[in-house]
Symmetry: C2
Subunit: 158 residues, 2 copies
């Protein structure tokens, strides 16, 4: 029954490819973070988690609560209060009471923080394009498709 | 000159695919870490960085110096001394002077630590296989190929 053979459970070789892919993904993630971290530091003096907070605030526009921020952050949230304190000291964000419920605090970009992001975001896109330059259009599309499939599957696990 | 058009610099759509792929990679990495973290905790009481140290020690066999360990770790090294202290308290590792140069300290697995890894590594492989189950063999091969290419390219940047 050759059909049965074709749908047999993954053999040792397939098990190894999952481990291999995870190790490659971790290495690529770490190498990308290292490179983005150093470019970002040079461009703005910001760390990756600081940039992540600024990027979410820029994306959402009208300020975010700490709960909303921690839900949206890409990089590990770590000490979010400390990151926001530091960004406040740098003049990029400020804490404001919510207009409808003044007990709720929203973190908002200052005009200077918004200007900074207008400068940084195109450079960040260009940096990512540069870091992925080795991939052909077909490679990029394959990566997008496979990672998209994996993300959907993993979101249903959690 | 249609040929020229075909090899033109990446347009806006291609720039966006780099950003999209980075965001997908970060999400997948975080979702995988979250899931592996909780499974590992349940299986062994270990954190991901602790498991990472144990896995490297298991792979190298005859103990590693702190410098060797920090070079090989997959997850952020963070506070390596603290991780090794905690693993020592758990009875999984011990510090030993190097046999040739007693000023050098090597971290080695205890027999109990080695037994633990013999149990954990197959479960970790099975967990990875499970987390990547949504990918077909062709998807896995595409991911392996594209991430491999990207890893080589990024290693030459750093």
């Amino acid at each position: 029954m050759p059909e049965k053979h074709l749908t047999a459970p993954p053999a040792a070789a397939d098990k190894n490819i999952s481990v291999s892919n995870w190790l490659r993904l971790v290495r690529v993630y770490n190498l990308m973070c290292k490179e983005l971290r150093s470019r970002l530091k040079e461009q703005s003096g910001c760390t990756l988690p600081q940039f992540d907070v600024l990027a979410q605030l820029h994306r959402f526009g009208r300020g975010m609560t700490f709960v909303e921020l921690s839900r949206e952050l890409l990089v590990t949230s770590g000490n979010l209060t400390g990151i926001v304190d530091r960004l406040t000291a740098m003049g990029h964000v400020t804490r404001q009471p919510d207009q409808r419920d003044r007990r709720v605090i929203r973190v908002v970009l200052t005009p200077g923080g918004a200007d900074l992001m207008e400068q940084l975001l195109p450079r960040h896109s260009a940096d990512l394009e540069d870091l992925l330059h080795a991939l052909s259009a077909a490679d990029q599309q394959a990566l997008q498709r496979v990672l998209g499939k994996l993300r959907v599957s993993l979101q249903s696990v959690g």
